[in-house]
Subunit: 224 residues, 2 copies
DNA sequence: CACGTTTATATTGCATACAATCTTGATAGC
DNA sequence: GCTATCAAGATTGTATGCAATATAAACGTG
């Protein structure tokens, strides 16, 4: 008699965190949060000890993160945390602006009333987080809001591209301390986006998303 | 006395094809060309035998390709070649259209006269390939032309995104036989793009790139 | 003292072995 | 005959060991 986790004939728990996914998520988070510093060499043995796994699954995770661009693998010479200099960041924000524009043009036409209501709830929570100066919550809700917008394009390629770019933005944001004034301005921009979205003014939404992205870019890049 | 490839104190041959890169390139090509059919299960042992490597480097390559979206890994249940249905293709072309538009808006301003001359040469070779019905050469030159355009944005994120999307397009194109009439039309579209680029008419270039992408999308999707 | 050479150490690359999980075919029960 | 259960086989997941390469330290030479 085995445990209750037996699964006759094929499991359908798609969200069980297998080791590979866990490792990727964990290392990615360490990079984003700066626990693994940019440009730093990453000896396999050290990470193995930290994460309590052997080299095989760890190396597999590093190869995957390399395809994501967070890790740079130099054959026979080890892995380094991919550095993100100002020019890289500019490129990331420029690409993100392109995607934001597309999102803005399409979401107002594709979103249902329920979708917009759900976004409004996220936006209201964002306002609460700002008012109570809960920076962690603000970051998380902000992420959720924009990811939800990307989702509403219904285009999985767009979503994948957006998420990958967003991760790189997050890396930079974790390094800096967001100016409270910038957070307020950002919230205002969000309010404008929601107002335009409610009346489904697609060009307006697109413009506002692009402007919001540009303002964020300026704030982040000025801090680096 | 070893060969001339010895490298005291650190090699700088960055382009030496190490096994990992080779495996990724090889398997990717097999997927693009359809040697590994979409939806097909990929038992590790079989690929190991084919490629004459052990499971360790092979698995690392599969994880990397999974991050690229060409392979889908089901934990404990093996890898499959990610299927590309019509809706997926539509999403790919839509995303590519977004990027093409950005390329069209920016390249006319950033390209030097020499850059444009180099593109013109590629275009002329493309015309030769079409005239001589050299389909392989046409495909390769067409790829090179568009990749060069992406390069000229000077934005590595855009380039990376574009290449990843282009690989998925290639997968679909390998399945179909391009209609010669479509190839001629495509060449005409390229001629129009070059004409607009020579006079650096950015909006025109952007529109033409988007239209070219849409026409390709229609041709490819109609065949699937 | 600087610099190139050699040797030792550390780290990565790959192959293999074993454990865990899934897949299959066979068998028994209804 | 059909479904459920179980066992044998196949496949994937992880750990470990050895070979290849790079890094560093020590050494000698000009």
């Amino acid at each position: 008699m085995t445990t209750s986790t037996i699964n006759p004939h094929a499991r359908l728990d798609e969200d069980k965190p297998d080791l590979h996914s866990r490792l990727i998520a964990e290392i990615r988070q360490q990079i984003v949060q700066g626990d693994l510093e940019a440009g730093m060499r990453v000896p396999e043995a050290h990470l193995c000890a930290t994460l309590n796994v052997s080299r095989t699954p760890l190396r597999e995770a590093l190869k995957a993160l390399s395809a994501e661009g967070l890790i740079t693998l130099r054959p026979n010479r080890g892995a380094v945390v991919t550095p993100l200099d100002v020019d890289d960041l500019r490129a990331v924000f420029e690409a993100k602006g392109v995607i934001e524009h597309h999102i803005g043009l399409n979401v107002p036409q594709k979103a249902t009333d329920e979708d917009i209501a759900a976004l409004q709830i996220l936006h209201d929570q964002l306002a609460v987080a700002e008012a109570s100066h809960d920076r962690a919550a603000y970051t998380e809700l902000n992420e959720a809001f924009h990811r939800r917008m990307a989702d509403l394009t219904g285009n999985s390629e767009i979503v994948a591209i957006y998420e990958r770019l967003q991760i790189k933005v997050l890396r930079a944001r974790y390094q800096i301390n967001d100016d409270p004034a910038r957070v307020r301005a950002s919230l205002d921009e969000h309010a404008g986006i929601m107002a335009a979205l409610r009346i489904r003014a697609r060009f307006d939404v697109a413009d506002r998303l692009v402007a919001h992205n540009a303002a964020t870019a300026a704030a982040v890049i000025s801090c680096v």
